[in-house]
Amino acid sequence: MSKFRPVADFDGSIARAYTPLPVKFTKLRDDDYVLTNVAGEFLTLPHSDLKAFVEGDLRPSEPSYVELKARHFLTDDDSDVAFDLLALKLRTKLAALANFTGLHIFVTTLRCEHSCPYCQVSRANDDRREFDMSEETALKSLDLVFRSPSPAIKIEFQGGESLLNLPLIRFVIEEAKRRNVTEQRDLAFVIATNLAVLDDEALDLCLRHDVLISTSLDGPEDLHNRNRPRPGNDSHARAIAGIRRARAMLGHDRVGALMTTTAASLNRAREIIDEYIAQDFGGIVLRPLSPYGFAIKTKSYQSYDQSRWLKFYFEGLDYILDLNLAGFSFVEGYAAMVLRKMLTPFQPGYVDLRSPAGIAIGAIVYNYDGDVYASDESRMLAEMGDHSFRLGNVHRDSFEQLMLSEALLEPLESSFAESVPGCAWCAFEPWCGADPVFHHATQGDAVGKKPLSGFCDRNMAIFRGLITRMQDRPGVRAIFERWANQA
């Protein structure tokens, strides 16, 4: 065997044998394609280079070859660590799966004093106590919470208006903390509330137990009040007053807010973002309306189409990027979650963008009546009369019965994106999710036909939009990397 490699090995213009590593590709725009590897790392190539790469004709002297090799899309005689590195990155991405359910949602009551037409949980009138969770149901639910092996447990209280059943919230927190003396989990609490009925008693509870507040803020006062009617038409004033009181008592970062886009929001992306800046939030999540609950009954969901929402989203995102490029730091939260998948080896905990789907194994819902649902959207669906994703009841079923129920396993298995038509060959699959509940709600089956899927359409547009912005606008890549690493 010669001591030296042949001269041809150092001549980049000569075709050399290389092995492509597992790669998926999807058109980005015009002649450009996005390629992703099993760890979700990506690069873009013109179609001619992609074709040459697949057919084994790419030469080492070409810039694409160097890039493909550097990012572990191909391996040749000079690179032998790609397998190990890709396996390590994949293992890091999937590590959270082994932890099982981390988010446990307690629906303390369906009662609410708001009457929002887009409400996705089908609230009940606020004087009907039969819609409150009992202590007995809460205790049974806590038994299930602590059966999850997750080292980090987050208990989130939702409604209706969750604070209308404050005694139950107090009971659950105190009981969970008592059990955690022996369980030793990383235990956290969140109260989702519109803040309209926030009082000192609730704030004192939050302070003593380090509870996070998550509220709704849909934008400027007129828009918020139009979206979120309540007696007195003062939802915005109460939300703002509540945010200020909660921040003063609990700390600025202990209060978060979410917005929902209605037809009335679509021309007001900048004003909505300005409202979040005025209220001193560090970011916003520009969310579409979901096809559940009152949003369907009142036709709110049908009142705007996907393309109109995407126009709203990108108008907002571009405005936020302008602010950042001018030196004002502000984050769009949905993009930040996606970018964490695209630009880091880590996975955000966001349930919708997971495959296997996050239903029950990422987040689970204990309804006021003891019914257990695979996700928040599953119970919203149930309020519309569709109980497909009801796993059982805390009073009747064991942890094993709930977690091994067909209502969970069948959609989990069938919707696994790696093996679903459309997703299986899509370059965006490593960043996307399965969302069987959405597809069941919109198409009648958990898998769904992806070319007709609003979920697929929306997320593909966002993935493409994020990549093209990194390509087209100098400085955006650095901003996106910052968002990805703080998400």
Binding site: P20, F83, L86, G422, W425, P451
Partner: protein
């Protein structure tokens, strides 16, 4: 469409990907596979539709080529990724 150029599987995938824009009928005759692509929108630009469909067919064929060549490596990487999790014994 000669089936020697594009396989049936690639054609099925392309038809699936195009279900929002067109219906695709498969006819397997003595001259190979024939695909009849009809737009769902009567006003669709037929030339554009045909060009896009041919391109989708080419992409699907390239994907399948790549999948076949990388399948053993993919399995090896997945095996390596889960090799120390203990899950393979379950």
């Amino acid at each position: 469409m000669p089936s020697a150029v594009f396989g049936f599987e690639a054609a099925k995938r392309a038809a699936y990907s195009f279900m929002k824009r067109a219906t695709v009928v498969f006819e397997d005759g003595s001259e190979g596979l024939t695909l009849i692509v009809s737009p769902l929108e009567p006003s669709a630009d037929l030339e554009l539709l045909e060009r896009d469909f041919r391109r989708e067919l080419l992409d699907q064929d390239l994907r399948m080529n790549l999948e076949a060549r990388t399948e053993p490596i993919r399995t090896a990487i997945l095996g390596l990724a889960f090799s120390r999790t203990g899950l393979q014994n379950e």
